[in-house]
């Protein structure tokens, strides 16, 4: 299953909740303000590293650029909108608002 998160992990519990309900081995895609979770060197990095151990974590390229997030937490892969679509082809998707 693919899970998407569009909220900042600093102001919302969406990503924490998502990670709790995502099965091991599932995909998590960070979009919109959700990509801040992927920023290297933030206080959220240790938490995201744990998520990366459990799930494949992706971040949407366009949203990273829009927010000036360049250095990413190790293990996070980037995708374009076409890659987003490919992830949805691969499995059902749930959105954590």
């Amino acid at each position: 299953m693919l899970h998407t998160v569009n909220k900042s992990p600093f102001s919302s519990d969406a990503l924490n909740e998502c990670a709790r309900f995502a099965s091991t081995g599932s995909d998590i895609l960070l979009i919109e303000d959700g990509v801040y979770a992927a920023k290297a060197g933030s206080a959220y990095e240790p938490a995201l590293k744990d998520v990366v151990k459990k799930c494949a974590v992706y971040a949407l390229e366009a949203d990273l650029k829009a927010r000036g997030v360049t250095a990413l937490v190790p293990g996070v892969k980037t995708v374009a909108y076409a890659g987003f679509v490919e992830l949805v082809e691969k499995s059902k998707v749930h959105t954590w608002l």
């Binding site: 569009n6 919109e32 909108y81 076409a82 679509v85 082809e89 998707v93 959105t95 608002l97």
Partner: protein, 118 residues
């Protein structure tokens, strides 16, 4: 594959409409069918035809017109949510319509994938 898209936030106020549009464009390019776009909660504001967005920014309403009128995608705003928020037949953009939650049910059943943006 058959994709169904639900949008829960209004244009400009949130990025959901922009992300949904970019996702749909990419899905069409990869050969997928969009069985319907369903607007719920503040998402119904996306079909308001009285808006005049700033000219130096994207026009979210024109994007939905493009997908609905020009590309023939079925774009539906929930009637109950529309009534609460003042979205009304006669004041909606071309290529969109107002209908019931049955349209959401149908697309959730019919589509291979239901994806929500909010």
């Amino acid at each position: 594959m058959k994709f169904a898209v639900q949008v829960l936030e209004g244009p400009y106020n949130n990025q959901a409409s922009d992300t949904a549009y970019n996702f749909i464009k990419a899905a069409l390019e990869r050969g997928h069918q969009i069985v319907r776009v369903f607007f719920y909660h503040n998402g119904v504001l996306n079909v308001n035809n009285l808006a005049e967005p700033p000219r130096d920014d994207r026009n979210v309403y024109a994007r939905w017109t493009e997908l609905g009128r020009d590309k023939g995608i079925d774009i539906v705003a929930c009637i109950a949510a529309s009534k609460r928020r003042g979205i009304k037949d006669g004041h909606i953009i071309e290529g969109t319509r107002i209908s019931g939650l049955g349209q959401l049910t149908d697309m959730a059943i019919e589509a291979d994938r239901l994806i929500t943006f909010g």
